[in-house]
Symmetry: C2
Subunit: 285 residues, 2 copies
């Protein structure tokens, strides 16, 4: 689409449903070696990142996704020091991780350097913390990167695109097995796991695969207005049967004081599944 032909950007999901925003202008478009990268200035929701036609975030509402992906696993861990982010090129996940003062080191393995460069320029409230000395940026395929990482991380966060194209390997059983091995004892993983209203089967497949690798697997969810059907799921897994309960109440209270979404009550409530999601998660409703 060109800004001249329409003042709306509508993402058509599976040729079935759509979500869109009125836009004022397209600020950036480029084709990286991996994907088409676009930034739109929306009328009312700040700048918007679009990869290969899929809306990744709006500045106004990105807080929900990033707080759910980061604070729930990190606050369920008693002492998260070393973190791996898979993907996450916009920088929002790193920004939230660095709010945790236990964290001494975060590796961010993003395949597409150009997403980071574009985010630094057009999404400074997300990418602004990528230069923090605790962060190491690694521009490489995470599927390869995790193959030789044993017993390194307390928490691994998979902040990926959808399980098609470049994101596909990040949803494979082999990748999950390597992620498990990369974790220290007591380690935790959280991944974004697609739309429970739109692609039930895909969410279910992720849960089934992760259950075949991790001893404890829990589905959780939240409202993400710019994602298909407006609701998104996440999977929490742990290496040693640790449940997603708050392990550091004082830290949770500190995070809650500044968060827009996260609070201690939501930490629990995010795992309360409506009956149709219980079925997706393989639980009896």
């Amino acid at each position: 689409m060109s800004p001249e032909s329409s003042q709306w950007y509508d993402e058509r999901f599976q040729n079935s449903s759509s979500i869109g925003y009125r836009i004022r202008e397209r600020l950036h478009h480029s084709q990286s070696p991996f994907q088409k990268i676009e930034i739109f200035h929306t009328a009312d929701f700040g700048n918007m990142l679009v990869l290969d036609g899929c809306i990744m975030l709006t500045e106004a509402h990105e807080f929900v996704y990033h707080e759910l992906l980061v604070h729930i696993p990190l606050l369920s861990h008693p002492n998260p020091q070393s973190i791996l982010v898979v993907g996450g090129g916009d920088g929002g996940t790193i920004r939230e991780i660095l709010l945790h003062d236990t964290v001494s080191h975060a590796d961010m393995v993003e395949i597409d350097e150009e997403v980071v460069a574009v985010s630094r320029r057009y999404l400074p409230t997300l990418a602004g913390k990528l230069d923090d000395p605790r962060v190491r940026l690694i521009f490489r395929d995470a599927v390869e990167f995790v193959k030789d990482r044993d017993n390194v991380y307390d928490v691994v966060l998979v902040d990926s695109t959808d399980p098609v194209g470049i994101g596909e390997g990040l949803f494979s059983r082999a990748f999950y097995q390597n992620v498990l091995r990369s974790l220290k004892p007591g380690g935790i993983v959280a991944v974004q796991s697609e739309s429970p209203f739109g692609v039930k089967g895909e969410v279910e497949a992720i849960v089934v695969k992760m259950k075949s690798v991790f001893p404890l697997v829990r589905l959780y969810w939240g409202p993400i207005p710019c994602y298909p059907h407006g609701t998104w799921s996440f999977v929490f897994c742990s290496k040693d049967n640790r449940e997603p309960a708050i392990a550091r109440p004082e830290a949770a209270q500190r995070i809650e004081a500044h968060a827009k979404y996260y609070n201690r009550e939501m930490h629990r409530a995010a795992f309360a599944l409506p009956n149709f999601m219980r079925r997706i998660a393989g639980q009896e409703p």
Copy 2:
């Protein structure tokens, strides 16, 4: 729009964000004395009701809205016998109410008889229970209807359109005062209360108004894919400070066994508010 010009129906909300569905055909369109009524057959989500251009429901996902609006207040009441539904012309709210075997009578006061007629024809899984002998259909403005109803209902459910045009009076303080008077001792009210992502100020105004009338007011929420930004809020109020806790555990278990959304854990979790919704509800985050 005509089915010929496009195969998509996109609702543009506040000229700012949009939600849409691919449609196969427009099955019905008419102009009632109150509003434009349309039914579309969507490609993947069943039939869709659209009033004055606003998507009201799709058959695939209407369960979330109707279960949240009905089961939470009815299961928080120890013995809900007499119910008032304001609006609700599609019949989904009545359908869920009749699952409660305590209910002996439900008045449904819908201003637009044509919505009921169209729903009977095109939304039979919703409107199919409107002929139940426990139901009385009253085609009248509910603002007028509640003026002379004293001490009649155990639960009042406001299943209205948005607070513009014909729905406007249903969001007034005077209406809430009449609803309060229409309740028996121990009575409960639940209302749909708009989009917390899209119109924070409107949700806040509803909460403030209801707090000035009812002694206990609690905001709750759920994912509604076809509504602006995909998330919707509801307000629970009670006449005698009754909290929205399950009052009949066995009945809740029975409802849960057949529900697609509702379960006892979600009954509680629906009231867990993310920080930004706590602010809307007037709570410190």
